[in-house]
Amino acid sequence: MTIKQNGFETTNLDFSYDGRAILKDINLKINQGEFVCLLGESGSGKTTLLNLLAGLTKPSEGHVYWKGKEIEKPSAERSVVFQDYTLFPWLTLLQNVTLAIKKTKKLKTSYAKNLAEEYLNLVGLSGSLHKYPFELSGGMRQRGAIARALSVSADALLLDEPFGALDPVNRASLQDLVLELCRGVKDRPITTLFVTHDIREAVYLGSRIIVLGSTPGRIIADIPLDFPVKKNRGEWFRNEKVQQTIATIEDAYHKDILEKLGHIVQGGASI
């Protein structure tokens, strides 16, 4: 058993925008190498939390740490994959990944190119190195984005509904790819935060699930998962333990929604 090292940590984290509270009192610890799925409805502040961990947004109150150090700005150490494909459209796949490697590792172009090819092979894109994003399908572009995110030697991977726009078949194969890659590229454990609103996706991928309630976003459930090895997707989902977990999360969701509806009804009644 290895000693768990601190990855992300947030203390009394608040975030508001235009006077509206988006996130409230988030206290969160994520160990290095953990695969955390962040679940929540739209508007629950999942993306905001991800942006805060990436350093793309600054908290209104409280602190965000990565490996014990306060996060001040975005860094290649914490790579992000967004839902909308974020490869630069004027560069080929290979150029996109090469640029990222060159910028973050200060390597010569030829080395960076070789490394980029390796990572693109890893995600199964070896046949499309010289294609431009507009020539690729959504799934392939997202594979490219993942390759780029990993290629910069990221220790943390932050994925914001990366497969939200994909068809089920592509989605499933990319889920398996992410699982495999985040277990460790070249023996490097990767801390992963995967934002989604799909409960089944979260349960399938995560080693831990955090559920955000909405308005303002706050943690309403934090569930560690310990499931059998994922060999056969269909069989795995029929596993009783898995189904129970899905039910638990659904309950947490519904409770949050019902509570909010209760507030509204009460508010309405008092007029």
């Binding site: 975005p74 914490r78 973050t104």
Partner: protein, 254 residues
Amino acid sequence: MRTFTKYLSKFSGILFLLVLFGIWVLISCGPEWDSQYLFPSPKAVLKALFDSREELLRSAGASLLKLVPAYLVASIVGISIGIVSGSIPWVSNMLKPISRFAAPIPPNVYIPYAIAILPTFYLSSTFIIFIAAFWPIYLNTAAGAAEIPEKYKRNAAIIGIGKFEYLWRIALVASLPSIFSGLSVGMGLSFIMLTVAELFGENTGLGHFVQFYADYSDYPNMVAGILWTGIVVLAIMELFELVKRKLLFWTKAN
């Protein structure tokens, strides 16, 4: 029948040109009338085009000698300032009042003043062309740079592209579509200002050619000058489109 209408639609452009040509022939070569000398026949115009070929080429050269440097400087200055002001809010705030005020001023009102303060006619016409091209190029570039999708900025930040490098590596490329629409508006305006400036005071160039023969009531040569100007402008615009298609290949699916 259906194939006939299909072909009619396909070649309607050429057919319409032929109709217009027919009207021209009718007016100029048909039954005689009072002001027919104002409408030289196609044959006379062709002859003028051929006879004046050297002068026409020289005129086109002289016009391009004014247009190209002025337009290039306007592009370089307009794109550079546009990228910076579109990317950095305080620069944009600083330039907004002056551009709001100065951009809508029609460039031809500067002509008398430009002639007064600049030592040569050449400099004043290039200055006017510069002004005409600068504003649309600058304004479109700035608007494009200001509207770069957040996702490119975030990506650039994550892979460690610094503020200065962002300007040329990301902002400049990502704004290319709006830069090109500015360049094309600027090109059209600078053509107009070029010929206007030449009609005024220049003694070279396409505008001067047309004005010169109009003054002598040599209408075949004048019409030849107009047609030749059209051909030159068309050629430059086609070249422009070619460059644009090459550089904007990546906007196909976006």
